[in-house]
């Protein structure tokens, strides 16, 4: 099944801007391609990615078929407090994957 890779620094200073990198395995089938017999291959994409920091949404991305297979998203957030960063990808055909990462803020 879908496998997600997340890069979050385990420790940070309060107020520091940290970079978060996420990668998830998914074909991101565009819905514009045809098979060798001419049938249209139905769309199957991740439509939404949301990141929350201790329950508060800090980043959201709406994806379209123009995002390459295995969506890779890099963004940043301010390290405010120790806690949990939660990542949620949702998409076509009931696709839903959740991941979390812990961060310690000194």
């Amino acid at each position: 099944m879908a496998e997600a890779l997340i890069s979050v620094p385990p420790r940070a200073r309060r107020g520091e801007i940290i970079e978060i990198k996420t990668l998830i395995s998914h074909p991101m089938e565009t819905g514009y391609r045809r098979s060798q017999v001419g049938a249209r291959i139905p769309r199957d994409i991740i439509r939404l990615f949301v990141c929350t920091y201790n329950g508060t949404e800090v980043f959201r991305a709406e994806l379209h078929p123009a995002i390459a297979a295995n969506p890779f998203i890099t963004f940043s957030t301010v390290a405010t407090e120790s806690g949990t960063l939660a990542f949620h990808w949702t998409g076509d055909n009931g696709f839903s994957v959740k991941e979390t990462a812990e961060i310690r803020v000194d």
């Binding site: 514009y32 980043f59 379209h64 078929p65 123009a66 995002i67 957030t77 301010v78």
Partner: protein, 150 residues
């Protein structure tokens, strides 16, 4: 029997080359303009503050690295609310739309996109004061995405 002389052939070929190269420059397809209107509404979009980092030449349109950067202090009073990316020649103009805020610290987002053709990619940023800013980058794509069969 009429045979095309070398001179005639060259003359015709030159004419053809001129026909191929003279295209309306800077004309962006209507579908992309519609997609941009759907996001900004009637607001004015000013050029500047938004920077796209894209390779000028891409051998594989299936995964082109893209970074969008917006000049902003990212404070509670002044920050970037959203960034939208559009293409003019993909089957559909929308690429990605992100929402962020002062907690992002800086307005910088990276991903990998598909490009169906050599074209211009446009990013539009919505700021907390309600203004819209845009930036663009041109990419030459040698192998287009979306065309190959499985």
């Amino acid at each position: 029997m009429h045979r095309t002389s070398r001179r005639d052939f060259l003359r015709a070929a030159t004419g053809l080359a001129v026909l191929v190269t003279v295209r309306p420059a800077g004309a962006t397809p209507a579908t992309m303009q519609d997609a941009i209107r759907a996001v900004v509404g009637t607001a004015r979009v000013t050029k500047g503050r938004v920077k796209l980092e894209l390779p000028p030449l891409s051998e594989n349109g299936n995964a082109v690295p893209l970074t969008v950067l917006v000049e902003s202090a990212m404070t509670d009073a002044e920050h970037v609310r959203a960034i939208h990316v559009f293409t003019e020649k993909n089957p559909q103009p929308d690429v990605v739309g992100v929402r962020l805020g002062p907690r992002a610290g800086r307005a910088r987002v990276s991903t990998r996109i598909r490009l169906a053709d050599t074209q211009t990619v446009i990013a539009i940023a919505e700021l907390s004061d309600g203004s819209f800013w845009s930036g663009e980058a041109a990419v030459v794509v040698t192998l287009a995405a979306c065309l190959e069969e499985t």
